[in-house]
Subunit: 480 residues, 4 copies
Amino acid sequence: MGLRTPEQYKDALRDGREVYYRGELVPDVTAHPVIGKAVNHACIDYQLAEDPRYRELAVVSDPELGDYSRYYHIPRNTEDLLQRSRLIAASTREGATLVVLIKEIGTDALFALHVVAEEMAKRGKPEYKERVRKYYELCRDRDYGVAVAQSDVKGDRGLGPQGQAHDDYYLRVVEERADGIVVRGAKTHTSVLTNTDEVIVLPTRAMKPDDGAYSVAFALPAATKGLKLLASSYGGIPKDPFEFPISASHKMMETLTVFDEVLVPWERVFLNGETEAAGFLALTFVKFHRFTAVSYKLPLLELLAGAAQAIAEYNGIERAGHIREKLTKLATYHATVQGLIFAAAHNHEVVAPGIAVPNTLLTNVAKYQFASNYHTAVQMVQDVSGGLLVTGPAAEDWRSEATGPYLEKYYGGKKGTSAEERVRLLNLISDLTAGDYGGYQEVLAVHAEGSLEAEKLQTYREYDFATAADYARELAGIKK
Amino acid sequence: MGLRTPEQYKDALRDGREVYYRGELVPDVTAHPVIGKAVNHACIDYQLAEDPRYRELAVVSDPELGDYSRYYHIPRNTEDLLQRSRLIAASTREGATLVVLIKEIGTDALFALHVVAEEMAKRGKPEYKERVRKYYELCRDRDYGVAVAQSDVKGDRGLGPQGQAHDDYYLRVVEERADGIVVRGAKTHTSVLTNTDEVIVLPTRAMKPDDGAYSVAFALPAATKGLKLLASSYGGIPKDPFEFPISASHKMMETLTVFDEVLVPWERVFLNGETEAAGFLALTFVKFHRFTAVSYKLPLLELLAGAAQAIAEYNGIERAGHIREKLTKLATYHATVQGLIFAAAHNHEVVAPGIAVPNTLLTNVAKYQFASNYHTAVQMVQDVSGGLLVTGPAAEDWRSEATGPYLEKYYGGKKGTSAEERVRLLNLISDLTAGDYGGYQEVLAVHAEGSLEAEKLQTYREYDFATAADYARELAGIKK
Amino acid sequence: MGLRTPEQYKDALRDGREVYYRGELVPDVTAHPVIGKAVNHACIDYQLAEDPRYRELAVVSDPELGDYSRYYHIPRNTEDLLQRSRLIAASTREGATLVVLIKEIGTDALFALHVVAEEMAKRGKPEYKERVRKYYELCRDRDYGVAVAQSDVKGDRGLGPQGQAHDDYYLRVVEERADGIVVRGAKTHTSVLTNTDEVIVLPTRAMKPDDGAYSVAFALPAATKGLKLLASSYGGIPKDPFEFPISASHKMMETLTVFDEVLVPWERVFLNGETEAAGFLALTFVKFHRFTAVSYKLPLLELLAGAAQAIAEYNGIERAGHIREKLTKLATYHATVQGLIFAAAHNHEVVAPGIAVPNTLLTNVAKYQFASNYHTAVQMVQDVSGGLLVTGPAAEDWRSEATGPYLEKYYGGKKGTSAEERVRLLNLISDLTAGDYGGYQEVLAVHAEGSLEAEKLQTYREYDFATAADYARELAGIKK
Amino acid sequence: MGLRTPEQYKDALRDGREVYYRGELVPDVTAHPVIGKAVNHACIDYQLAEDPRYRELAVVSDPELGDYSRYYHIPRNTEDLLQRSRLIAASTREGATLVVLIKEIGTDALFALHVVAEEMAKRGKPEYKERVRKYYELCRDRDYGVAVAQSDVKGDRGLGPQGQAHDDYYLRVVEERADGIVVRGAKTHTSVLTNTDEVIVLPTRAMKPDDGAYSVAFALPAATKGLKLLASSYGGIPKDPFEFPISASHKMMETLTVFDEVLVPWERVFLNGETEAAGFLALTFVKFHRFTAVSYKLPLLELLAGAAQAIAEYNGIERAGHIREKLTKLATYHATVQGLIFAAAHNHEVVAPGIAVPNTLLTNVAKYQFASNYHTAVQMVQDVSGGLLVTGPAAEDWRSEATGPYLEKYYGGKKGTSAEERVRLLNLISDLTAGDYGGYQEVLAVHAEGSLEAEKLQTYREYDFATAADYARELAGIKK
């Protein structure tokens, strides 16, 4: 085994998981009008493996293991990292710029767990290594979708886990039993868990020596007693595909993931009280996951440039100086991120047990270049497009005899173009930049996979200031 | 007479106007679920006159004319301009950052028509002056709401009115009759006309000598035969006030305004074939209207700074260095625009017939400072707020016994704050920056009342490069 | 009395002051090749009073006091502030964008001393008020040039006055005697003291309760025993006016100002141990001085725009889209600062004893807009100008028969322009942006009259976040 | 043969070349106080080959050809490009951030000539190929320094070669003779030709069909009759190494290079009248040369970050939030350019006759990222450093008994640091950013190896807008 069909994936989601939407329990996520859309979107990760155009990219054929999803392939070298990056970009491109994520994020966590468990073994805690290996094989062999719950709800962001209004603002172990640990707390912004088989839970930050109860990592099936998923309603309105060409068909769900006294069996516990390893695990996950993040941003950046070019053509202004200026900036933006991803993959570091970690400095710089310039890019695309992004007609207006002919007549652009096509393109840009999907992408740009400040902090830590400062002192004639 | 009540305003809208929404004729705009919201929002301009807190600002008591709306007061000096600016800001503040506009924009056009008609009289066309005066008095004395239709649909933006795929991409006169002119064409992005009494139609740009048919300005009642209003569906979904604290209650409508062989009586014609005056009128309107625009942006800028400050407090990070950096930039942004508006009012120019025109250079610079920095400001507010902007719970989640207690417990912030209040504030910021209202504001920032390029062009024209270059040559030792 | 001639000013500088240049005592500053240039530059503040074009602006004719320099006029209202701002801009314009400063900065300090002494009197220390008044009248009536020494050398910037490598990193009182106080320490970046009559010494920051010895303010003649002025050598090379049209003739001196056990008579002591007033005085001075600062930046900003426009004309590219884009940005930059200065003057606050203080928020925002955008403006001017800024010919090349004709032939620009004029203009821009004068202006932009961080801090403090946050909470439906 | 010593290089410069400095003929460039400094700086390219630390990088040992300078190694693959890039960075690092260039630029031109001559051969002009090969071997085997003269003086930049005030604003062929062509005109900004053996002359732009006389490329020895080098005086003042740690010892010369009826023998003519190839050659050279350019910027970017870090440590503020923010931005800047260079080398294109051309899109994006952010980086470094950059003491001040002890006492920083070291570092930063060397680097950033606009134009041309726009249309539901 190793590859499931989309239908097998969907069937497995009818497992009694406790998902709430607008306060009500959802009996079958695949049948829910909003979450069902997210399920269909997530199927892309399975469809790619069946699609001849992508099969080679999406599937690894191993003499021993047989076929399995490339997402589960542990990267050993530059080419592995680049193939993974291309696969992530390809699935997101199929997803109309919305990342699929159900295999992407989970494997990032699994790679990090391998690295940390290896290190823990060196430090005299050998048990995690075997647990991680087995859990990884389970997920790979069953072709699971795996979510990751990392962000604690945090309460007062100026404080750590302790000293808060109550002790559960960070997820924690409240009991150790013979059969496992019992955890309580909640994780927020958990993506795709409404529709994955499993969830891996990681600490959100470095911990202090007395934060032992909060230094915990583990995995659970989505359908676990006490695990409650409160789905976000954001962007959940019904949408016409004419008006919302992206978001009418593509959706990702986030949940407030509540752990109400949940038992985790020992074989699924990957960290438990080792405070000094909490930050290491959090950070190692992030090293992989930011590389995933920048990889899946590429179709978005391409679409910004492409949509701007296309609408400029319809509007007859593609040769105007200020339009070319903006198109060039969008191209520069895309190429910068793409070039840095490439460099990050090449300049990777191989860490025990033989896993290629993308260059942390370059990955963070790529992510920062993406995130810090996103809103300005949106501004340029909106600028090129025109006000019709927010004043345009509805699908029904085109069908109406009373109004349709006027739209056909008056919403045309350059001679030889079709008014409907022009409006379709404007609707795409409106969906992409000016509706809730646009807002979602903006907020994701500055918060998902680490905030701007997190990227800056990591850049600051990774850059070799010591060598640079030595060069300065040398030129200044300062003796060492 | 001179002041209507909100109810009188609403009653007058049931006048048989031909408004379409999603392809269907709207029998009564005040009763329509979406347009009715816009009607209620527009009432603010009438409510202010009745509100003791605003009455002095909103009403002019003239010994001869009696009480009338200050919007109709022709500005003669700095204080008039500042009072007008304050009134516009106050009504927008009441409108929760959404401009009311039904008196603001129309009076901008009326002021411009006065200036142009005066100039036309000097050039030997005295008839417009009296028509404008009478029409102005009609609107003022009946306390009308007046829309302005300026933007032509344009077709190929690289061309002017002629040479397009068809001749109606710019509104034009197709017939002159004894009783008036007949016009055909369409204006786009027409704001508030679904719910004003009247509309003033202005040319969108300077015209060439053979563009006579396109050089036309006039006014019409909203309910005029052949005048068809195709309302935009953007942002028209039903909204819960908990999740959308602004846009659940506040709405502005735009229309594609079709003139299907519409007769305009001569006394309402203010320009007809004088090609050399088309650009003058378009630009004079814009001089007033950009000042209105920057004035109504102030509550929005204040809210960006205030919301960021408030959420930072709930999150317990208001003292963090990078948060203060962002708060300071938001404050700088607000203060810059505010200071420049003030300077523009003071450095006004009085033009015949004695109307104070806000300084064009400073008004455009204020508008540009607003528009070019808006998306970056949004980025900072989203950055300070956190990802919950797009992953938060619905109103029903709070009321549900299954989910409400978890939200109460886990969405708290700094000790002593309420989880619900924190989420309310996040919902406000989400509505303001990440939903369709947020997208609307972004697109408006770069397109409404002139695009970024239009503001730059006007700045370029108004700046005194000649004097500056003389200074350079003088210092360079170049003899004149 | 009240107005001196430039010659009287220069004569008074031969007073035995202890000035060192490149390690050597300067016997007569007016005759020194470098400092003498600064003396001549400083004369502008006296020449203006004699120049019919400026006399009305530069001189106040008081029925009681007779004529005196407007710099000494205590601002009481908007018009006083605007006149002062115009005078500062005018003298700087005469100074070819280099501020004159010898009366500007001293009067800023005198105004601040009035405000603080008034407050001290309220707090039960009446003696300072009379001392300040008398000292102010002395300076005004003798038409003195007055420097201000504020910046301590500071040592470790992460610490305050105490805990440093030695105790003199901040100037301090080391002895109190019957005839006065004895001070030790050094101030850095002291402008113009090589060529003023007097110096006012102010604390550089707020002090803590045990920093009494460091909480000191006073005034001294430049020629005082123990007061040693170590002049900076920066930019002191001989310069040909053809190659350096600005800096060959204009210079400002800075000194490390050493107080080597200097006695200050009691009547010249304005603060002595009142730790709580040190920050108040430092800040009040800055409120006036940042307004001075932005005022004197205006000719610089005008020259950037004007030089770019002029060289673009010589190069034949003034109509190119990207050139106009840059010219427009330079115009926007200039207009933004100018508009904010205007607004700051109007929105002043009158503080006891009746002095108009420019609006602190708007002044800081103006300064920040200037300072944060300066390098980008330089980039644009260099971009428009071309590489010849740093590869151009010398004055001798033009005079040489071997090379002159080639320059004449090959350095021409647009038809009808003169090669020499074009190169003169390029030399001006090179001097302004690419030589040591250019570097001086860049560093001044980010450090003089408060760093970027200081301006941001003040903006943060002055902005009304409380009202803004209330607005946010109100819209969010949060009850007070 | 193949490798010369620095002395051999210098000896060869005494060849009778006609160099003028400040209007006077320079009899021996190696002995000239300014140009001699440039000669010594240029020696670095020869020293590296003798330096054990660099020999492997600087020298290629070929079984057939023996040892020769790696600069002359024609790049065939990624590793060749990266080695070349590293060598360029290493020599520039030795040159204290000033590029050496005497082999870098000439080989860029030689590579381009190979590509163009190959193409010309395909088009039926086989003669150039052999000439280029022979000339390349001559330069390589004699280990020549080779300048490139490309920028014409241009006159009116709004025009091409024709229609100007005179016909020589672009270099042109004025006669064809049996022994060669005679050229007239001038090239500007020619770097290093005062001290190279040879110069290659290339067209500066694409030419029109009737611009045949201007479509010319060739090579000449520096000492050729009629070839007159008018050296720029910029930055040519004597400098103390204490105050100017970089520019006291490092210098590059530019010339106005006049071709006063210069005969070029046929075997050195590489283009003559083939108008359609002029732009191809200009652009191909630029493709190599911009890659050289970004490579040699790396030590500069490292120094900006390193100097900021080092001075922050001396000042005791290296942990302050706003300092870390700036350090992080400097690190991001460096890493971005470095990553993009790496990606450009990897994604090269191999063109006939088998030469690896760095990826044009990524190279231009790297260059643009460098150039567009340079002034802002300078601003940050100046900001971190403090005002002492332009108010600091001279070397003599330290040696003087009267002033030295005060400097020692008062210019200290954090406890345990040396005042002199701190001032040395400040002098380095002053030299780097605030004196004429700083200005030189600023102007180079926006003009050398193509202006910002040139980089943008190339980015616009290379980016695949067609594919991106197709993606947009596909998502918008627009059928092809």
